[in-house]
């Protein structure tokens, strides 16, 4: 019964997509706002990477919303994961990495850190930006966790530090927006001078926003992965009693 319903649904969806397929034109998009932005962004924002200009300039509040979603997901995951693990001894299932892994992690960590910050800082000039750099920062910390799971599986990650970084980076992003609101009457309006087009210190507040985004994404993801890593493994369940629940 369920599979029949599923097939019906899939058939309906396929039909819908076919209708759409027969009508849409790709290759010549209307580009109403796209064309305007391509024309105006270099003057209005001053970033040579127009994707970043749109991400942090024209659609800045979308980015704020997206940071909030990541924050909401991490917080909700925290709510879910924190409970009911008191009686389990965590982290007992991951062996400490071998010598090669540990040495590799020690070498990789500063490298990833530098790459991450480079990508964050050059977001307005070249491909990349806050998100991509932030993910790499998170990866840098996570490599450390993988190499040395530690007694509680956290690899020495400091939860308080993560909480402070993620909180203050978010406050920084909103603070830049509110500064513009107080100064010019528009939330997230670009501030500071645009500088020389194509240089590192250009595009006004854009690099600052980029740093805030990078730090927040990095801290958020690092926290999320650490939380997952700290979970004790689920008990192997006996196939003979699939209904049994551990208590």
């Amino acid at each position: 019964m369920r599979s029949i319903a599923a097939l019906l649904f899939a058939g309906g969806l396929a039909f819908l997509l076919l209708i759409i397929a027969s009508e849409l034109g790709f290759g010549e998009p209307a580009m109403l706002i796209g064309g305007d932005i391509l024309a105006k962004a270099p003057d209005e924002v001053g970033a040579s990477n127009i994707v970043t200009a749109v991400l942090l300039g024209y659609r800045g509040i979308d980015t704020l919303g997206e940071l909030s979603i990541l924050f909401a997901a991490a917080t909700a995951a925290g709510l879910v994961l924190v409970r009911g693990n008191k009686d389990c001894h965590a982290g007992a299932n991951d062996p400490v990495g071998g010598f090669i892994l540990r040495t590799g992690a020690d070498l990789l960590f500063p490298l990833l850190l530098v790459v991450g910050f480079y990508i964050i800082l050059h977001g307005h000039l070249t491909p990349g930006g806050g998100f991509q750099g932030g993910v790499i920062l998170a990866a840098a910390f996570f490599v450390l966790v993988l190499a040395r799971p530690g007694a509680d599986g956290s690899g020495g990650m400091n939860h308080t530090a993560i909480a402070f970084i993620e909180g203050l980076a978010g406050v920084g992003f909103i603070g830049l927006g509110l500064w513009a609101l107080v100064d010019n009457g528009n939330f997230l309006q670009p501030m500071l001078s645009q500088g020389v087009f194509g240089k590192l210190l250009s595009a006004g507040t854009l690099p600052l926003l980029s740093i805030a985004v990078g730090l927040k994404v990095g801290a958020e993801l690092a926290g999320l992965m650490t939380q997952l890593a700290e979970q004790p493994a689920a008990p192997r369940h006996d196939p003979a009693h699939p209904g049994d629940r551990p208590s």
Binding site: D62, A76, L168, N186, L188
Partner: protein, 506 residues
């Protein structure tokens, strides 16, 4: 400096941003000064509510537009503020504040507060935003925040319900994103006003209808729309009752508001309206039948909520101001009543049999329950009657086969609704067995919320003429597509005269 006593239009963004700011601050603050952190949330929401009310008083008469970041539309994101948007935006912080109180055994109040604040910010943004993708972002934020909140009871059942809800919701979001992609391909813009300008030519074909169907299913997950509402009874039965109250009364209405905006601005052809009518009618009758079968109060309320939202969809599917008025009246009616009913269910949740004899131990709550039941059914002097009458009259006026069948389904559904609600009332006033434990009394706070809702209902009954006039004004403002377009893209001369706040960044 921001003047604390007078508001400017630029501050419309604050009710969205301040709760986000507070949510980000909570974790660090919680580690430094926990008592302060616990006060931060309610304080922020109070400020948000105050700001929104001030905005309503100062600028509520004519709709206005706020270009975020000062980028002139359609390039940047705009907030569109009319009375409809303000009405729902103001309801968000107030309702979140009303259902703020924590469970006694909440192990992690800081995280919970943060998620509540995110929900408030997202809800306000959803009501105000005038950009299709921005709406999607706020919708996702609402969704993720509610996933966190519905696990709060930390039972196994809550986790199962959450996972199923999450997967369904994420799937709906994917479909909505396909709809957004189609609209972008056809029109080349995301600004709702510009989409409204282009819609008569660009979105009139089958593609437009397909895009609307996809968006309807996507946003319909939160709006408890017919095929994608399987999560509702599961989640409302396992989540904390206060969270169920928020989801059923507030979040569902915000999703409906988004769909209505799309319908009015971009998809005013008959196809889209008929789709909504069909799904709404099916939802109403199936949900009322399911509610009739339910044996516990939480799931009965959940199914009844699906049914009422089906009715709301039917109302909004009617064309023009009359349809908007009908839908709006039903939506507000349901918002007030479901919030109160779920509030009462905090203590009364569980088997209906437990409620036998509740009228003796809790006479006020039982009386309110009877009042709400009568209004839900639509017994004449109460507001529910007028709202339902508007829908029935609108359907009769259309007198197509579809609308008349929908009318028949509504009448059947109402009969079923009356049956199970009377069954509930009879239980309340029945004489229980002597040795049965008396049903618990509702908490004072819940009783207060329910009493306030009851008073609102009675006031609306007495002043039904004024209320309908007020709602009619909101509806006619929101139903006018030209007003929306002219507000976002003011004619050049008018913009100079009004000293429009939009200026291009130089």
């Amino acid at each position: 400096m921001i003047d604390l006593l007078s508001v400017t239009q630029g501050q419309t963004v604050l009710p969205v941003v301040l709760p986000l700011l507070a949510a980000f601050l909570l974790q660090p603050l919680g580690r430094v000064a926990k008592p302060l952190a616990l006060l931060l949330g309610p304080a922020t929401l109070a400020v948000s509510a105050y700001l929104l009310i001030q905005l309503w008083i100062s600028f509520g008469d004519t709709p206005y537009m706020l270009a975020i970041g000062g980028y002139a539309p359609p390039l940047g994101i705009v907030f569109y503020v009319d009375q409809l948007a303000l009405l729902f935006a103001t309801a968000v912080p107030i309702l979140v504040l009303l259902f703020w109180s924590r469970g006694e055994d909440d192990p992690d109040p800081i995280r919970r507060d943060a998620v509540m604040l995110l929900l408030a910010a997202a809800g306000t943004g959803l009501a105000l935003s005038g950009d299709l993708f921005n709406i999607y972002v706020f919708y996702e934020l609402t969704a993720v925040a509610s996933f966190g909140l519905v696990t709060l009871r930390a039972t196994g059942a809550a986790y199962i319900a959450t996972v199923r809800y999450l997967l369904l919701s994420a799937f709906g979001s994917v479909l909505a994103l396909v709809g957004i992609a189609i609209i972008y391909l056809e029109t080349g813009t995301l600004n709702l006003a510009q989409i409204a300008q282009l819609a008569p030519t660009a979105l009139a074909g089958p593609n437009g209808l397909a895009a609307f169907a996809l968006l309807l299913i996507g946003f319909g997950v939160k709006a408890e729309l017919f095929p994608v509402n399987t999560w509702v009874p599961e989640v409302y039965a396992t989540a904390p009752t206060r969270i169920s109250a928020l989801l059923a009364s507030l979040v569902s209405k915000l999703a409906v508001l988004v769909v209505v905006r799309l319908l009015v601005l971009a998809f005013d052809g008959t196809g889209a309206a008929q789709l909504m009518l069909l799904l709404g009618a099916l939802a109403f009758v199936t949900a009322e039948l399911a509610a009739w079968r339910a044996r516990d109060l939480r799931r009965m309320l959940a199914y009844s909520s699906i049914g009422q939202l089906g009715l709301v969809f039917i109302g909004f599917s009617l064309s023009g101001t009359a349809g908007l008025l009908a839908g709006l009246a039903l939506a507000l009616h349901h918002l007030v009543i479901k919030a109160a009913l779920f509030g009462l269910a905090t203590r009364w949740g569980g088997s209906l049999e437990r409620l036998v004899g509740a009228a003796r131990s809790a006479p006020i709550a039982s009386g309110l329950m009877v009042l709400f039941a009568l209004s839900l059914i639509g017994v004449p002097p109460l507001p529910g009657f007028w709202a339902k009458l508007l829908v029935v009259m609108g359907l009769a006026e259309q007198s197509t086969t579809l609308s008349l069948s929908a009318l028949a389904l509504i009448l059947i559904g109402t009969a079923v609704e009356a049956n199970y609600l009377f069954r509930l009332v009879i239980k309340l006033y029945a004489r229980g067995e002597a040795d049965a434990p008396a049903p618990p009394r509702p908490k004072l706070l819940d009783l207060g919320i329910a009493s306030a809702a009851g008073v609102l209902l009675l006031v609306a009954t007495v002043g039904v003429g004024r209320v309908s006039g007020w709602l009619g004004g909101i509806a006619s403002q929101a139903a006018d597509r030209e007003v929306y377009i002219r507000t976002v893209f003011p004619p050049k001369s008018a913009a100079v005269a009004a000293g429009s706040p939009v200026h291009e960044a130089s």
